[in-house]
């Protein structure tokens, strides 16, 4: 079976306001540009208030259910370390986790009611899956804009997709060229930086 014949499941997770839904939208558009049938879903009702956000992207020859079953995700993109760990049960044993090492604590953790996991990346690796973790925020700061994290994370997973990385890159950069042309170049550089980091 070739990649084009099967369904690809990508789970993007993080916290409201981090750009999880935007990243998922970019992946969906790139898959659409490749001619796949695509569905994207999320439950984000109250997530705007600092809650958990997860966005499911599914593409393939024909997609029915928009939801990814536990154990069925091919790719897990974690915008935050503990969130990647929370959603680990959705990843296949052969899946890949791409994780931003950022650690964000909600008030219930800050107040001492719960503990933040000591080593979420280590726990992910211990589960036997392929984990790639890096500090996307630091890369974004090096490029001079902390909002580039989103593009960096997409660059990082771009070589793990069933279509060429350039398709995703073109989708992102074309969007900026159309609506915010001043940011097109810097996003292209962020994508490249993420792409390099994704192989670590």
């Amino acid at each position: 079976m070739t990649a084009a014949d099967r369904v690809t499941n990508i789970l993007v997770v993080g916290i409201g306001g981090q750009g999880v839904m935007t990243a998922a939208e970019m992946l969906a558009r790139a898959a659409l540009a490749q001619g796949y049938d695509v569905k994207k879903t999320e439950v984000a009702g109250m997530a705007q208030r600092g809650g958990v956000v997860s966005s499911h992207v599914r593409f393939g020859p024909k997609i029915y259910s928009p939801q990814i079953d536990p154990g069925e995700a091919d790719l897990l993109i974690g915008f935050e370390a503990a969130e990647a760990l929370r959603w680990l049960p959705y990843l296949r044993p052969t899946g890949v986790a791409m994780v931003n090492t950022l650690r964000l604590a909600p008030p219930v953790v800050s107040a001492g009611l719960y503990d933040y996991p000591l080593d979420p990346i280590g726990e992910l690796a211990a589960a036997g899956i392929a984990v790639h973790a890096f500090d996307a925020g630091a890369l974004a700061d090096e490029l001079g804009n902390s909002k580039l994290v989103n593009t960096i994370m997409l660059g990082a997973i771009s070589d793990y997709l069933p279509f060429p990385a350039t398709v995703l890159e073109e989708c992102i950069v074309a969007g900026f060229r159309a609506y915010k042309p001043k940011l097109a170049d810097i996003n292209a550089r962020a994508f490249a930086a993420g792409r390099a980091a994704g192989h670590v």
Partner: protein, 626 residues
């Protein structure tokens, strides 16, 4: 602007169900659209507002929205009302009678059920309204179907002179999927209102003759459903089980059992019983997969069709593949792998109020005053029930705070003898359904202290406008209600109407303490905008001077997510008791300089000495783990 607004016919787009509805509404020639915001339906009207040639408005509540749509329909215009499932309860008074009288211009009510309860106070199945009001229901399963069915719904409404319900769920509204946009707008001109008292004045004498007509209409609709192409059979080689399903549950069934025969009901009410009976004859057993109530299942059993349903499937929630698979395998006596545990042991991340939220001060006050029964309402301030405030005791429905507090006062038990009744409600909820409760408690000489938390926005659904904000759906200037004058007009004495800056914490606490002691209704109105809206003004961030912080933890009690505990220490007090100290820090990226926390800090350790951060739109409710 949304690209689909300018989409040419015969072009493909990735659209949410809500966006697809909006495009269909425009193409259908709708002239009037009204809604009240509510997850997951909010974006329907927000998208409609971007199209030309449609009058669209945020109505003050769902009943008003439906009545506006009815009026437009009677004038001959095609009209739409959109709402979430609980909005139907509010609107039902209007449509239950109009369904009897009928409509002129196509009238469609799009309702979004929050199956799985991601952002609602209950889980309701709006398909009951079709049976209750004798109105047809169309159930799209994805965006493409939402687009197609909304257009069909307007034709159906005009052909049968009946309001049509399009029943969506979260997994249609908020799922983005491929949509082939096939048409352009077709104008439907309004003929104007034709006076006909026997038809439109629903007195008993006029309404009674409508009853047989309504039932005849329903019989005709049932005949139509039997032959409608919206009720589609999918053949399958594995005939042990045939599925009867509707809405997004169809997608889950098709995904999980690709070889099973399926009868998919797009035109699900009145149910095509004979079509289902014929389908049942082609398979060994029927399983009805419906979200969420056992509605069709019960109707099929009553018609003598033997089916499985909620006896083998969960009684509530989404019927996703991981739910369907084990239930069906068990029915077939087939082995099924143990379900994957999705509990990871990671801490919870409950929704919380934002940094510098204008509700933080009022909740700090409420959490520090004893002997209060705090009766809440629907909105961001419902979060006051959570950590660290624990200062909200009830939440039922839109506007209930005032009336329930009044009832709790009148029906107070012995243990409530010293309790003060406080109602907490936001601006939009107050205008939606709270005013009547306030009028009622004033008229009936009640004694409730009302906190009207006016943040000039419908906060929880994303900051929409309302009659208290001064802007309309399109961002244009609109008359703005004066809450203080309104309260006075309803009968609260001017002395008991107190307007307060919620960031002036000592004043805030003092006012609540004063007003709860009064033996008459009083209202405290806060006057700062939601910190996520453009109306909110950001100032230089504050910081904690470590050398001055005594670890008292008062500022932490505000629940502002910009403030966090940097260090804990346990010390012995003079009396020999151990005491936990929490030394605070402020995340300068998250802090907006609202200065609320300054009011909690006796040692004056919180100071404003940092420059403005470069990014004024950071996520303002989170901070990094030190």
């Amino acid at each position: 602007m949304n690209a689909v607004v300018h989409a040419q016919a015969e072009s493909r787009h990735l659209l949410s169900g809500n966006e697809a509805v909006a495009r269909a509404v425009w193409e259908a020639g709708v002239r009037v659209a009204a809604a009240y915001p509510g997850t997951p339906a909010t974006e329907i009207l927000e998208n409609i507002a971007q199209y030309p040639d449609i009058y669209s408005e945020w109505s003050v509540n769902e009943k008003v929205a439906v009545e506006v749509a009815i009026g437009a329909s009677l004038a001959g215009s095609r009209a739409l009302a959109a709402m979430k499932h609980v909005g139907m309860n509010v609107a039902s008074d209007a449509f239950m009678t109009q369904a009897l009288a009928g409509v002129v211009g196509g009238l469609v009510i799009v309702v979004a059920d929050d199956v799985g309860l991601s952002s609602s106070q209950n889980e309701q199945d709006s398909r009951y309204w079709g049976r209750f009001g004798h109105m047809p229901i169309l159930e799209p399963a994805d965006s493409q179907e939402a687009y197609a069915m909304v257009k069909r719904a307007f034709d159906l409404s005009e052909d049968y002179e009946v309001p049509v319900i399009v029943r969506m769920t979260t997994r249609v509204c908020h799922v983005k999927a491929m949509v082939m946009v096939s048409g352009e707008r077709i104008e439907h001109r309004a003929a104007g209102f034709q006076k006909n008292p026997q038809r439109w004045v629903m007195t008993p004498a006029n309404a009674k003759p409508r009853l047989p007509l309504m039932h005849e209409r329903e019989r005709n609709l049932r005949d139509l459903a039997e032959i409608s192409d919206l009720n589609e059979t999918f053949s399958g080689s594995d005939r042990r089980i045939g599925f009867v399903t509707s809405g997004p549950a169809f997608m889950h069934v098709r995904e999980t059992f690709p070889n099973a025969p399926i009868l998919k009901l797009g035109f699900s009410c009145p149910p095509p019983l004979e079509k289902i009976r014929a389908f049942a004859g082609q398979v060994d057993s029927i399983v009805v997969v419906e979200e969420t109530e056992p509605l069709l299942e019960t109707e099929l059993r009553a018609a003598g069709i033997s089916v499985y349903g909620k006896d083998i499937l969960p009684r509530f929630g989404e019927l996703a593949p991981n739910v369907l698979r084990p239930a069906i395998k068990q029915l077939l006596n087939e082995p099924c792998e143990a379900p994957i545990r999705v509990q990871s042991g990671v801490f919870p991340r409950p929704p919380t109020m934002c940094a510098s939220c204008p509700h933080l001060g009022p909740y700090f006050a409420l959490s520090h005053i004893r002997n209060l029964n705090i009766i809440g309402d629907i909105g961001c301030y419902t979060l006051g029930a959570g950590h660290p405030w624990n200062a909200l005791d009830t939440c039922t429905c839109m506007g209930a705070s005032l009336s329930m507090a009044h009832g709790m006062d009148k029906g107070r038990g012995e243990s409530d003898e010293k309790k003060h009744m406080v109602a907490v409600i936001g601006d939009s909820t107050f205008l939606h359904m709270g005013m009547q409760g306030l009028l009622n408690l004033i008229y009936n000489r009640g004694n409730v202290t009302v906190l009207l938390l006016d943040n000039r926005s419908v906060g929880m659904t994303g900051g929409q406008e309302n009659p208290g904000t001064g802007l309309d759906l399109h961002g244009l200037a609109a008359p703005r209600v004066d809450f203080a004058k309104l309260a006075e007009a309803l009968g609260i004495r001017p002395e008991r109407i107190r307007t307060v800056d919620p960031y002036e914490l000592p004043t805030m606490v003092k006012l609540v303490r004063e007003e709860i002691k009064m033996n008459e209704p009083s209202i405290i109105i806060t006057n700062r905008p939601c910190s996520l809206t453009d109306r909110f003004e950001r100032f230089k961030p504050y910081a904690v001077l470590d050398e001055k912080c005594t670890g008292c933890g008062n500022c932490i009690d505000l629940g502002c997510p910009a403030i966090f505990v940097a260090r804990r220490e346990t010390v012995m007090t003079k009396s020999g008791k151990s005491k936990e100290l929490s030394f605070a820090r402020i995340d300068s990226n998250a802090c907006t300089g609202c200065h609320l926390c300054v009011g909690t800090c006796a040692p004056e350790a919180i100071v404003q000495n940092l420059p403005m951060p470069p990014h004024s739109r950071q996520p303002i409710w989170i901070h990094t783990v030190p």
